[in-house]
């Protein structure tokens, strides 16, 4: 009896989690009207805002020049590119200086911090920004030339303080995990972020994010100690009541590649999870005015861990239902989370089809099979990253205390983690 009740309670909790996640994941496709509202509307031509585009680059001499060239092809009239390089990185600096010499719109800022990371680099560049809006890109991004015009229109037509554009991993054919990784981005930027924008709590993405310069300065820039400074900025701005707009257009997204290996994906995910955990513990989200928003914040920031937990427990639960002698009614309840997971699976397959259509990519049968077969393994990877993040954060907490006194090796370790992933 006690076992039955316990199993039923766990199952219902899992079911609730899975159902909510599914509900949010499918936000954009709820009605045709919602889907239509997730797109950029066409710019009307009048350009009044100017942009400062931050381009932090670290050991990225190979791709940097191409990225700068492409950004310079932007159709917008008023923008500057601020390339941020490290004082200990002469190769990248050389590429950036050469670009600056060719085109006056390119400027170079040198970050002289002893320990380097992305938020510090961007904070270094913030005082030099002359535009009305600060935009962030990564050194390997492929940015659409029309993007800035659309973003400007979004700013002006909605009175937004922040505009988040879409980011999409494209190389779904590279490996089984890149397939799932691409699809994760697809559901996140195509659908889920819009829900967050609507509900008033949003963890921003790492690039293709645009913030009004004065708002960003008033917020004190990025948190240099946070491993998910992008998420943190979003949480702080939305908690302070700033208006965030998300827009996604398949031909306007910033295209990226998945991490090159399973290990770097694991590391990237660990960093994000740890970052989410840090943001959770910073408690900025507690300023959100309504309980629902705070619940959403709590849940979203905990998601990596809940996901890891449910990924492990759901199969266990089904096994219990089949092999343990529980009443049929309880057995049915134990199947609820698995059924929800199955529905999620089916929607992922449909999502992959839609992804292929949106981007004109040919998705073959083998990709669908890989998507399905890879599901459980990807769950394992996520669970691993979540556990790793908790463990590191746990260890990191004590180290953090130490940093104040001795300056720590831990941060260097974190920087290394950042560098070996292309996030």
């Amino acid at each position: 009896m006690l076992t039955s009740v316990f199993i039923a309670v766990v199952s219902l909790a899992l079911f609730g989690m899975a159902a909510f996640t599914l509900w949010w994941q499918m936000h954009a496709w709820r009605t045709p009207e919602v889907l239509a509202s997730t797109r950029f509307s066409s710019p009307d031509g009048g350009e009044q805002l100017s942009f400062s585009l931050l381009l932090p680059a670290r050991h990225e001499q190979a791709v940097l020049d191409h990225t700068i060239q492409r950004l310079l092809e932007s159709s917008h009239a008023a923008f500057e590119i601020i390339v941020i390089v490290g004082h200990d990185d002469p190769e990248t600096t050389a590429v950036a200086e050469a670009a600056a010499a060719r085109d006056p719109r390119v400027r170079v800022v040198v970050d002289t911090h002893e320990k380097k990371n992305k938020p510090k680099a961007m904070n270094t560049a913030l005082p030099y920004c002359r535009g009305d809006v600060v935009g962030v890109f990564d050194a390997e991004d492929q940015v659409h030339p029309e993007l800035l015009a659309h973003v400007e229109h979004a700013f002006r037509s909605t009175g937004a303080d922040v505009v988040q554009g879409g980011v999409q991993l494209i190389n779904f054919h590279s490996s089984w995990y890149s397939l799932r990784n691409c699809l994760e981005y697809f559901f996140w930027f195509r659908s889920r972020l819009h829900l967050h924008a609507q509900k008033g709590f949003i963890p921003l993405g790492g690039n293709t994010v645009f913030v009004r310069t004065d708002v960003l300065r008033a917020a004190g820039g990025w948190d240099p100690d946070c491993l998910a400074e992008d998420c943190d900025l979003g949480v702080r701005l939305s908690s302070a009541g700033k208006k965030v707009v998300v827009a996604y257009d398949s031909d306007m997204v910033t295209r990226e590649e998945t991490p090159g290996s399973l290990v770097s994906l694991l590391k990237q995910r660990t960093r994000w999870n740890q970052g989410f955990l840090q943001v959770y513990r910073k408690k900025d989200w507690k300023q959100l005015p309504t309980l629902r928003q705070r619940m959403l914040a709590r849940y979203t920031l905990m998601t990596p861990f809940l996901q890891a937990f449910s990924g492990v427990v759901i199969p266990l639960n089904v096994a219990v239902a089949i092999f343990l002698d529980v009443p049929v009614g309880v057995a049915f309840i134990t199947f609820l989370p698995a059924v929800t997971a199955l529905v999620t699976f089916v929607f992922e397959v449909v999502g992959l089809h839609d992804f292929g259509k949106q981007y004109g990519l040919r998705v073959r049968l083998v990709h669908y099979l890989k998507l399905i077969a890879g599901g459980p393994f990807y769950q394992l990877l996520l669970a691993g990253a979540a556990i790793r993040a908790v463990w590191r954060e746990q260890r990191g907490r004590s180290d953090w205390e130490l940093t104040r006194h001795v300056g720590a090796h831990l941060d260097t370790a974190d920087v290394r983690t950042r560098e070996d992933v292309a996030a």
Binding site: T31, A36, S37, F40, K243, V246, V328
Partner: protein, 547 residues
């Protein structure tokens, strides 16, 4: 425009909507909010009241109790009593969800007064089902772009046709399944084209199928409806969601069998496989158009109550399918018309099994397509080819013609429905049953130690009278077919004290040796009613000998 985050000072943010790009279907949009449309509420409310009065008046006395009503209600009773899914071994004859719902519906009245758990009394809960279904027919009609009067006509046809009145009064699983099917169609035709409405449609459809498996037949029509009412940008998600929901819930039935270890046949237990095999290999009842075949008789029994709804509906479906290319109404009603077509085609199998309840699942669709056909005709008469500058006289002519057609229809339908309705609200067809059950309760000295064969309809009455459920008061055919019962009857007919020989028992006794022998070795001690429909209480000659 984009989805936005307003400043936190305004915490409740309506999603900023912009119109979805127009879909290619070009259908006429129904009103977005029926709930706040006063004329709709008024019309629907008046019709609902009329339906409830006509169906509710005299509900327990007409029509005659059917064996199946007794079966399902008794199984609902077994569920309430915690005896599992049936008081005899559940053998996967039908998915159990139907009488589980009945158990829930009758729970409170049965708790307040256990004796009320009999067919006659509990027919009252079917009023609730009929009422919900009738309202859903109206809402669905409006969502399928029928004008208000036509949706009302559909609701009236569905709820007031004498055929509907008779069948919807009875405790049939089909009536519950129809309600769920209508809910599925209504959700599939949701004007907001919401992903989760379509998902819900799939869930409701699965519930319908698990209530009565024959609802599988209308799933294609449901799919067509969902397709037509989804937007091309979100269609693949909406429809996949609906199909997935339906399939996953549907699979819970085999899963249930699997968990009980009864999925596949094996020694010493029943199985889902055997149940399905039984249903699929039921002996055919002949071709429906062959005079004298079983199916022919079933058809005649429907037409006896009402010709307008079945034949008119069929004609309406044919009209809509034929005018598919020109008529907006025809395309809007594609789903119901297809449902009618599929059900009609299946009824026309050369040697299929056609149960009397078969028509129940067609009733709402027949009503909707007949109403749609009427709307089509009205549109053709009043609007087709009409220009702004048409002469007044011609316009009056159109209205005169429409009025004449309406009057003619009323003149044709009125007397027939009046007769049918009058019978339904006045005739007492169940007096012999009630009297026989009273006799068994009052005249038999020791009910608790008496064994009696009855049909399913009377079974619960005798349970309340103190007979032992299952082995004391016995569903008559279990005395031959259920090993758990025959085991307790080593002396065969000699172990039986009474047989309540209703028409059903006498008819089926031909194929049941124990029942037949018990009837042969018994003499009537009380007879209620006359002729074919009489009910005899027969006392077996060696009564009490073996016990």
């Amino acid at each position: 425009m984009t989805s936005t985050l307003e400043p936190v000072t305004a915490p409740r943010i309506p999603a900023q909507r912009r119109p979805a790009p127009p879909a290619a279907t070009g259908r006429a949009l129904p009103p977005r909010r029926l709930r706040s449309s006063r004329p709709d509420l008024l019309l629907c409310g008046v019709l609902l009241l009329a339906i409830l009065v006509v169906q509710g008046w005299n509900i327990s006395a007409y029509p005659a109790f059917s064996d199946d009503e007794g079966t399902y209600l008794a199984q609902a009773w077994a569920v309430q009593e915690g005896k599992g899914l049936a008081h005899y071994t559940y053998w996967y004859d039908h998915p159990p969800l139907g009488w589980i719902q009945l158990a829930v519906l009758t729970w409170i009245p049965a708790m307040l007064s256990p004796e009320s758990m009999t067919v006659g009394t509990m027919r009252a809960v079917m009023l609730l089902i009929s009422g919900i279904s009738a309202v859903l027919v109206y809402v669905l009609g409006r969502r399928l772009a029928l004008p208000r009067w036509a949706a009302g006509l559909g609701m009236a046809l569905f709820g007031l046709s004498p055929l509907s009145v008779v069948l919807q009064r009875e405790i049939f699983l089909d009536n519950l399944a129809v309600m769920w099917t209508l809910l599925a169609f209504t959700l599939a035709a949701s004007p907001s084209r919401h992903l989760w409405h379509h998902f819900g449609a799939g869930m409701a459809a699965a519930t319908a199928v698990l209530t009565k498996e024959t609802m599988l037949l209308v799933l294609p029509a449901l799919f067509v409806t969902a397709w037509r009412h989804s937007h091309r940008d979100t269609r693949k998600f909406a429809l996949t969601g609906a199909v997935t929901a339906c399939a996953l819930i549907g699979f819970s039935y085999p899963l249930f069998a699997l968990l009980k270890g009864e999925l596949l046949p094996g020694a010493g237990h029943v199985s889902l496989w055997d149940g399905v095999k039984y249903q699929m290999t039921r002996p055919g009842s002949g071709f429906i158009l062959d005079q004298g075949s079983g199916s022919w008789n079933v058809l005649q029994s429907w037409l006896y109550y009402d010709r307008i709804l079945p034949l008119g509906g069929l004609a309406g479906a044919l009209l809509l399918l034929a005018t598919w290319r020109w008529s907006v109404t025809a395309r809007a009603l594609a789903g119901p018309a297809l449902a009618v077509a599929v059900l009609a085609a299946l009824a026309l199998r050369p040697d299929g099994y056609l149960p009397a309840m078969y028509v129940i699942q067609a009733l709402p669709f027949l009503a909707l397509v007949l109403a749609g056909g009427a709307a089509s005709v009205a549109h053709a008469v009043l609007r087709r080819g009409r220009s702004e500058r048409e002469k007044r006289a011609a316009v009056y002519g159109r209205y005169a013609l429409a009025g004449a057609l309406a009057l003619a229809a009323c003149a044709y339908v009125g007397p027939r429905w009046y007769d049918g309705t009058r019978i339904a609200v006045t005739v007492d067809a169940n007096a012999p049953y009630e009297a026989a059950s009273r006799w068994m309760a009052e005249q038999v000295p020791d009910p608790a130690r008496t064994r009696v064969l009855v049909d399913d309809a009377m079974w619960l009455d005798l349970v309340h009278a103190g007979y032992e459920p299952g082995l004391g008061v016995i569903w008559f055919y279990k005395a031959d077919l259920d090993p758990a019962v025959t085991r307790t009857m080593p002396g065969g007919w000699r172990d039986i004290d009474y047989v309540v020989a209703s028409p059903t028992v006498r008819r089926d006794a031909e194929d049941l040796p124990n029942v037949k022998a018990a009837i042969e070795h018994s003499r009537p001690v009380a007879v209620f009613g006359t002729g074919e429909d009489r009910i005899e209480i027969r006392e077996v000659a060696t009564a009490g000998g073996a016990r």
